[in-house]
């Protein structure tokens, strides 16, 4: 925490600039690494000199893929940070709340109906599934104007069980030829990322972030409990509605373009909190950068670690994250 002045008085407002620059630098490095390594041997200098192969590989395959990885990682981490703050629960993330499960169930059902061949349909249905799941979880947990965080988590858990059943049944009824693509999507992959995916997710991510910034000051007050926040003039139900809706919609979009990539939403806000111990206003930008960096690196490793095959990136987010997480957990609070 080099950015905080070492004075005898306790550190006051922590400077956001230091951690922000550090994580931004890490993201830039990760993006360069992602562009540099891959199955084809191409160099940045060749691409900039006009070599068509190098340009195609770097600018049409690796760069959009790396940027999409960054956006998906940032989105999942921001959604995780938002859900955790909203529900006052460090275990909340888009997966536990059923958002990703709804997306997966939507994708699986459209595959079973033989619709997987229609371009763009599976992501669209996945997006609808994610939003539907969110609405269902929220309505199930709602009683008389009030949304109980524990009921919200439990509703998510129960709906996830239902979604698993739907997915299994859908797969049992699917044609074998359709299954490979569906399975690949379920494992989470950034393969075949396009610039239009990048632009779509980037615009949604920017909107989400702006909305979350407008409620950040209120959202962080929920840390002390809803009664406390209400007594301090926070319109708690409004903050919950806005936070939950924006985080879910952007998660739905991320899941639609990348499939199911677990652990980022849970892990990244945790890591940021373990290192910096600050409130949501800190967590929001730092989680975005941290999530982006983590997923870019995980995706790069999943592409290059085996010469013959690409491995599911979701597995690597876990493999990279778990040891780091455990060591931090052992070290302190």
């Amino acid at each position: 925490m080099g950015s905080i002045a070492l004075t005898s008085a306790p550190a006051r407002r922590a400077r956001l600039a230091g951690p922000l620059l550090l994580l931004a630098a890490m993201l830039v490095v990760a993006l360069v690494v992602a562009g540099t390594f891959g199955a084809a041997r191409v160099s940045w200098s060749a691409a900039f000199a006009g070599d068509p192969t190098a340009r195609a590989v770097l600018f049409h395959i690796r760069l959009p893929r790396a940027l999409l990885a960054a956006l998906v990682g940032a989105t999942l981490a921001v959604a995780g940070a938002t859900f955790q703050t909203l529900l006052r629960n460090p275990l909340a993330d888009p997966f536990i709340l059923g958002v990703s499960g709804g997306a997966a169930a939507g994708a699986a059902v459209s595959t079973a109906l033989g619709l997987a061949g229609i371009p763009g349909l599976v992501p669209l249905v996945a997006f609808v599934g994610a939003c539907g799941a969110t609405a269902a979880v929220f309505l199930l947990a709602r009683r008389r104007e009030y949304t109980d965080p524990t009921r919200l988590l439990l509703s998510g858990l129960v709906l996830n069980a239902l979604f698993s059943a739907v997915i299994l049944i859908a797969f049992a009824l699917s044609r074998e030829s359709d299954l490979t693509a569906a399975l690949r999507w379920m494992m989470g992959t950034l393969f075949g990322a396009t610039w239009s995916d990048v632009i779509l997710l980037a615009s949604l991510f920017v909107i989400t972030t702006v909305v979350l910034i407008t409620i950040a000051n209120d959202l962080r007050m929920l840390t002390f409990g809803e009664d406390d926040a209400k007594s301090r003039g926070v319109d708690v139900e409004r903050v919950k509605r806005i936070g939950f809706a924006t985080a879910s919609i952007v998660t739905g979009a991320a899941v639609a373009v990348s499939g199911i990539i677990g652990f980022v939403g849970l892990l990244v806000p945790h890591l940021i909190r373990l290192v910096w111990h600050r409130d949501f206003r800190f967590l929001l930008p730092l989680s975005a950068l941290g999530g982006a960096t983590l997923l870019v690196l995980a995706d790069t490793v999943s592409r290059v670690i085996l010469p013959s095959a690409e491995l599911p990136v979701g597995a690597f987010t876990a493999i990279l994250g778990v040891p780091f997480f455990l060591s931090l957990l052992r070290r302190g609070r």
Binding site: P10, T214, N217, F224, S231, G233
Partner: protein, 255 residues
């Protein structure tokens, strides 16, 4: 500061919790809110803190109806401490306390130096300045209570509502905390309304005691009106004897 509670009623999901409660409060008073469990103490505090709105009746602060006060503006005058404040994530005391300045911040603003000055002043007032950079989970129960009281004081409220601040404190901390409340009333001119089960401690330090019973306000008066064996038996279902010491009556359980 004036606070007027006018025949206020409230129910949780159809279960009545408060019935026709009326009371008025002025500045610079230490008021203990007593009564058995479930008598409506917490509910009354929550209605005044605007956690809930009354089902009927009304509450006026400085002569203005609560629902006419903009929520954040009201929060600058009234500080509320729930019974078991527990931040979901680890925090340092200074960050906990400075978050009490939230009603004064703009939508996108961060706390300024002046807010930290207020937070440090509040910690000092609670004899908790030494805790500033410690984390809540490294503190004793008494220290945490003082940090959370400081958080309420950081907004310089004129009305302070505390829900069982003495619960789970050992005797020396109860005494320390009771003195602290007395001190805060004297030094800031605020009125403190706090729920408590410690009748003797309340009587020793308060200007006034309220006794709640099954959602109604049974007694509102000076401590000596409450500290009588017949009153205690009737409203608390507790057999006690009055023992005079130091010129006032204390209640001792009848064994």
């Amino acid at each position: 500061m004036t606070l007027e509670v006018r025949s206020v009623s409230f129910a949780y999901d159809g279960t009545s919790a408060l019935r026709e409660v009326s009371a008025a409060f002025e500045a610079t008073q230490l008021v203990a809110l007593t009564g058995p469990n479930g008598s409506g103490k917490s509910t009354l505090l929550k209605l005044i803190a605007r956690v809930f709105a009354p089902l009927s009746g009304e509450i006026l602060f400085d002569g203005r109806r609560l629902r006419e006060w903009p929520a954040r503006e009201y929060a600058r005058h009234v500080g509320y401490l729930p019974q078991d404040p527990d931040p979901a994530f680890p925090m340092r005391a200074i960050d906990v306390v400075v978050s009490g300045r939230a009603p004064f911040l703009g939508r996108f603003a961060w706390e300024r130096d002046a807010d930290y000055d207020e937070a440090e002043r509040a910690l000092e007032l609670c004899d908790a300045a030494y805790l500033a950079s410690r984390y809540l989970d490294e503190m004793s129960g008494g220290e945490r209570k003082r940090v959370f009281l400081a958080r309420v004081l950081a907004g310089r409220p004129r009305l302070i509502l505390l829900d069982e601040p003495l619960a789970s404190l050992d005797v020396s901390h109860v005494q320390q905390f009771s003195r602290l409340l007395r001190d805060i009333v004297q030094r800031t001119g605020a009125t403190v309304l706090y729920a408590t089960h410690d009748l003797n401690w309340a009587a020793a330090y308060c200007d006034r005691m309220l006794v709640m019973q099954q959602g109604t306000l049974a007694i509102d008066g000076a401590p000596d009106q409450v500290m009588r064996p017949d009153v205690i038996a009737r409203y608390f279902g507790f057999q006690a004897e009055a023992v005079n010491a130091g010129g006032r009556d204390w209640l001792v359980p009848r064994v």
